[in-house]
Amino acid sequence: MSELIQLGSHNERPMPPKADELNLRFSEQAIKELEGLKTHYPNLKACILPGLWIAQREYGGFLDGDAIAEVAHRLSRSYAEVQGVATFYSMYNTVHNPGKHKIEVCTCLSCHFNSAYRIRDYVSKKLGIKNGETTADGMFMLEEVECLNACDRAPVVQVGDRYFGPVDEKSIDALLEELRASEESTVVKMADQIVQVQLKAEERVGTIR
């Protein structure tokens, strides 16, 4: 079912924002990084994916309309096109704000047969959220994902830039505790690391951790 339904139908649609109505939020670092990435490709269109990664970091892990519009604006592409690209890929958070930590439970074949659904349900019960939802405090989002390609460690859970596996109830408990205590949003960190690894040493503004 489409996310559109939630937005309801109105007789008058709002106008798309004009270039001078945009609220641009990219930091100086982000602008520098985008300039670096532009040199990797023969055209600006190819920077849409890396640009969205930068935006996902700059906008706190969630690519809302403003974030999409900013990327489109900076790369001279149409808003609709960039939104179309962003919504195609499952790692861009385009539907709702994922919160601070996204718990991605792999339930694909090998994990499935190594109790992945038990793990998913455990996390779900423990956090009181269903698949695809975020806790009220914005701390955790639970998402069932397709094969993470670490089947030797099944069942596997990915949180930000780290893989955990094989996991069980005990290790999930410990993981959630650790995450709850951490200052940094793993969603934002993941986006940042993805930006950093794509930059050459001389282009890099941040650090690879």
């Binding site: 079912m1 489409s2 996310e3 559109l4 339904i5 937005l7 139908s9 109105h10 007789n11 008058e12 649609r13 709002p14 106008m15 798309p16 924002p17 309309g65 999409i68 519009a69 489109a72 592409r77 149409s78 808003y79 609709a80 096109e81 939104q83 179309g84 919504t87 195609f88």
Partner: protein, 644 residues
Amino acid sequence: MAAATDIQTVNIIVNGIELAVPKGELVVEAVKRLGLEIPIFCYHPRLKPVGMCRMCLVETGMKNPQDGTIRMMPKPAAACTLPVSEGLVINTESDALKKDRKGVLEFLLINHPLDCPICDRGGECPLQNNTLFYGPATSRFIEQKRHNVKAYPLSDYVTLDLERCIQCARCIRFTEEISGDSQLAFRFRGNKTHPITFNETKFTSKFSGNVIEICPVGALTNRKYRFRARPWDLQTSEAVCLNCSNGCNIWFDHRAGKVVRINARTNEAINEEWTCDKGKFGHDYYNDEKRLETPFARTGDELQKADYATVYAKLLEAFHGDNTGMILGDSLSNETYITAQNFFTGQLGSHNIDYRFSANQAKGASTVDNSIASLELAKTTLVFGTHLADDLPIVFLRVRKGWFNQGTQVILATDRSDEVSEFAAHTLVYKPGTEATIAKAFAGQVSVADAAAKCGISEPELQAAITAAAGATVITTTSLNHEAAEVLKALDGNFNAYPTGANERGAQLALACDGLSALEQLKKAANGELSALWVVGVDLFSVGLPREEVIRALENVDFLAVQDSRRTETFYYASVALPMTLPAEQDGSYTNCEGTTQQMKAIIPPVGQAKPAWRVFEELSIRVNPRMPFSQASEILASAPAFA
């Protein structure tokens, strides 16, 4: 015919029949040479083929040139993306293909709402038609259908129904490839994929109506036509759009004497198969409440209904010689202009008959070197002082097509950036009023540095644009500053000052324009120096002149005759008024911006006692000087050497 042999051909076999077809032609097109039709959804001849819907699957193989044996491929291939090559073997009919087509249609239908009885597309729907010929009779699908938004208003013109959508991307490709605004895109993936605007904002494309027509289902429907008729209840007639000077060919769909909708009619030389929104959705004036239905004459302060004889008598009394004038709109038929000129100058003896409200129009160059179709072949195009997508929408599509298909280099010089700047290699935004200076810079008559400073453009940008524009085909309009127009016309390349009024070109050809221009007549009238003024088919309050000036002119002229299709603001100042038919209510011809004269036939009956303007002029003319009048429009056109 040397040209025919220049095309490289290849030999292919279609359903056992050998034939030679141009190399590289798509199979879906090549088989049409045998009168065969392959069912399609996503394929559209004017869009890049994508092979998404899989409806056009055919069996393919290769003929071995040595021993003549044929080896067929194990999988069927999409005919819409496969170019022909030497020895290609195609089967378009087989039991396996029947099954393939049935399978694809079954897939398309399982999540389709099948709400044909309340769908505007019903009766003219490719999905219905293909299902009838190729589809399964029953469904094996017993699961829940995919649900999505219905009747979603994307704009004032377009309604989106995502349940009906079959994800063929025609609409998306149109906005990317043809109109260039890229306002539609697929969102999400897999079975959630659907076309939509960014964040469901308004679909503001100036060509949005076309997506309704190319949609192969009822996913995109015409909001103005919604639920107003079933297609089989409509009468449809060939017509020409007269909302601007491009002269798009259209289908005029009407019911019980009223226009219901407008669709594009293919004319390769003009609009191909597109329309702009102003044309497609801008025909409400036919059904305007303010239509003028009878003649009127003023008694004291009041305009009262009158008969033609009374008004004719008053007109003939008031209009004589050069102390009187006639102002014509720029969207009247050629027949109107011809008979008006004959009558007003020939019979009434006044040379003051004109349509031009701006000094630039009056003095500027009206040369047109290029047909619309030839614009797409230009190597370099300089668009000067016009906003093409608004002023000449179909010319805009041609220029863009040239850039998209052949890589035409486009240079834009204008007072604000617009749709052309999206693909222009150079965009110069100059200060309003500096057109002449920048034109002279292109001609090398002023230094680049001086021009740049004066026009508010950076010098290197101007220099780069000037260098790139050498030999360019210039596109502008007749309202461009006349000094600039003269300079640009003298440049090396082709020069086109396209008229923007729907039949401005016809007025240029038919009218002598040897007296006062429309603007000059109004000035004279304002000074009380004109005894009578006759205004035909134009509301003086909507031609861009200051209101006070228009009011002064109308109040200071002794006798004002207004001939129009509706009660315009000018009408209320009239001494006498005559109702006039609109193009679809009369026979007539119109000459578009490139100079093509196109015929319109009377499609719907006239409103009330409205008459074609030319008939009024003929009826008056024989009252002055009895003779055999013209009885039909075609005789008038044949009599005018300018349209020979």
